[in-house]
């Protein structure tokens, strides 16, 4: 039954998901061919080069954020509609347990978010893998490698793998907030949004607190670690702390979501 639930969850949002991601990849290819391939890093004036790169980077960051938000909205609406709106009358009367419903949503949601991250990674790779960019980068490679403590490709792969892993926490936190919202029948969506903002605030506060406490905030010297270390050390230190925090919070959120689904679901 779990497999069937996952199949229908994936199928429900597949068309829009594929369309959004195909458009993003097309935009990346378009941007690379029409703009990035034409950048001349050697003969252009610094000002015109900086302007062009700033415009392209801003545009692509906007597209990446929009794509990520689009994928997130797809899984959020699927979870809410399928379990807590009128479609819930069918979902909750299928011969499957609440646990199976929750896992099908976690697995399908994670698959979509992880796939979205892969497509974003592919899009970025399309943008920066042109010969002109690679040649231009080679002139500053030693400094970047020294500062990062590893090659930029190793750094990018590590960051990419972390992002793929972090998707699970995004999915569980989203479902947790929607489920908490169901405890307030009169204001379900409002309370789900409130739960989302409060949870994010707590996560940000804890992340910052831990980063400062362990001296992983750049330019900040703590009692534990002295200043003057490479940027990568701060980044990886922060990521390691975030990962631990993420794992602990995700487990807690999963347990609470499971309990609410098992004992508190009231479809009014």
């Amino acid at each position: 039954m779990l497999g069937k639930l996952i199949k229908y969850d994936l199928k429900a949002s597949a068309k829009l998901f594929i369309l959004l991601h195909a458009l993003f990849l097309a935009a990346c290819i378009f941007c690379r061919m029409l703009f990035i391939n034409r950048l001349d890093f050697i003969h252009s004036s610094e000002q015109s080069l900086v302007t062009a790169i700033a415009i392209i980077t801003s545009l692509m960051i906007f597209l990446i954020v929009a794509l990520n938000l689009g994928s997130w909205l797809l899984i959020t609406f699927r979870f809410y509609r399928n379990l807590f709106s009128r479609e819930g009358y069918l979902s909750w009367t299928l011969p499957v347990s609440g646990l199976q419903h929750l896992w099908s949503k976690i697995i399908s949601g994670y698959m979509y978010m992880a796939l979205s991250t892969v497509v974003i990674g592919a899009g970025v790779l399309i943008l920066v893998s042109g010969r002109n960019v690679v040649e231009a980068y080679s002139t500053i490679e030693p400094e970047v490698t020294e500062e990062l403590g590893m090659s930029i490709s190793s750094f990018a792969v590590s960051l990419f793998l972390y992002s793929i892993f972090a998707c699970i926490s995004t999915v569980i936190m989203t479902y947790f907030c929607i489920t908490v919202g169901q405890l307030f029948p009169g204001h379900r969506i409002l309370c789900a949004l409130a739960a989302y903002f409060i949870t994010n605030l707590v996560v940000q506060f804890l992340s910052l607190f831990l980063a400062f406490a362990f001296g992983y905030s750049p330019g900040y010297s703590s009692a534990f670690i002295s200043d003057g270390k490479p940027i990568a050390e701060s980044i990886w230190g922060t990521i390691t702390l975030s990962t631990f925090l993420m794992i602990i919070l995700s487990i807690l959120q999963y347990i609470i979501t499971h309990i609410i689904i098992k004992k508190k679901v009231n479809l009014l």
Partner: protein, 232 residues
């Protein structure tokens, strides 16, 4: 054989309001039962509790001896009082969905009913008229070989001709060992098919009697008795 549905001291509260209050009730197999009562009497709450869509505040409800769970959902076929399907789905996709999840779903029976209604399998649900949507919902629910059919307002929003079709569909498709629980306000329309009626008032049981008993004991039709009991 176990009762198909049993409630013991069943209570459901919304804030300070008792939607159901200490309800004790047993439904036997092989009957068509009318669940009747004015708005807010607790009919839909009882139906939702039987389907595991609400959690009781107190007491318990058992289907075939079990609290609502995946095993009870296998034997209960439920028609909610609202559209419950993804309206972007095509009729053929909905049929496959039912066939995937319910072992007791008869594709043949469903196709036969949809053919009689001349409903195109390629059409999306949202393109159907309100009446055809309701008939499609009912066809899906009645195409299962369930032990308990729970129909919440199955004839509420359709014209008299469609009502006849729906009642006919119920009568011709349920297994005689199964129980059909129908909640409705339109008593006169369904009275002829009912074996038993349950009156709910303010979340409590007001009457649980065979239709024949009502006729002989009170000398009235169910509709007339309902109007008398729930007179405003």
């Amino acid at each position: 054989m176990r009762s198909i549905l049993e409630c013991q001291g069943l209570t459901k509260k919304y804030g300070d309001f008792f939607a159901l209050s200490n309800l004790t009730l047993t439904l036997e197999r092989g009957q068509i039962i009318g669940l009747l009562g004015p708005n807010g009497s607790g009919k839909t709450t009882l139906i939702k509790l039987a389907n595991g869509l609400l959690i009781p505040t107190d007491g318990h409800i058992m289907i075939n001896g079990l609290a609502p769970c995946p095993d009870t959902k296998k034997i209960v076929s439920y028609l909610p009082d609202r559209s419950f399907l993804n309206e972007r789905m095509r009729i053929s996709e909905i049929l496959t969905f039912y066939s995937d999840f319910y072992d007791n779903f008869s594709m043949e029976r469903a196709e036969k009913m949809l053919d009689a209604l001349e409903i195109d399998r390629c059409a999306r649900l949202r393109t159907l008229s309100k009446g055809n949507k309701e008939k499609t919902h009912l066809a899906l629910v009645m195409s299962r070989d369930a032990d308990l059919y729970i129909l919440d307002e199955p004839i509420g929003g359709v014209d008299p001709a469609a009502r006849d079709y729906i009642l006919q569909t119920i009568l011709t498709n349920y297994n005689e060992n199964a129980t059909v629980l129908i909640s409705t306000h339109l008593i006169a329309d369904i009275e002829s098919i009912l074996d038993r009626v349950i009156f709910l008032q303010n979340g409590q049981l007001a009457l649980n009697a065979l239709v024949d008993e009502i006729r002989t004991q009170y000398g009235k039709s169910v509709d007339a008795l309902f109007r008398e009991v729930f007179k405003c």
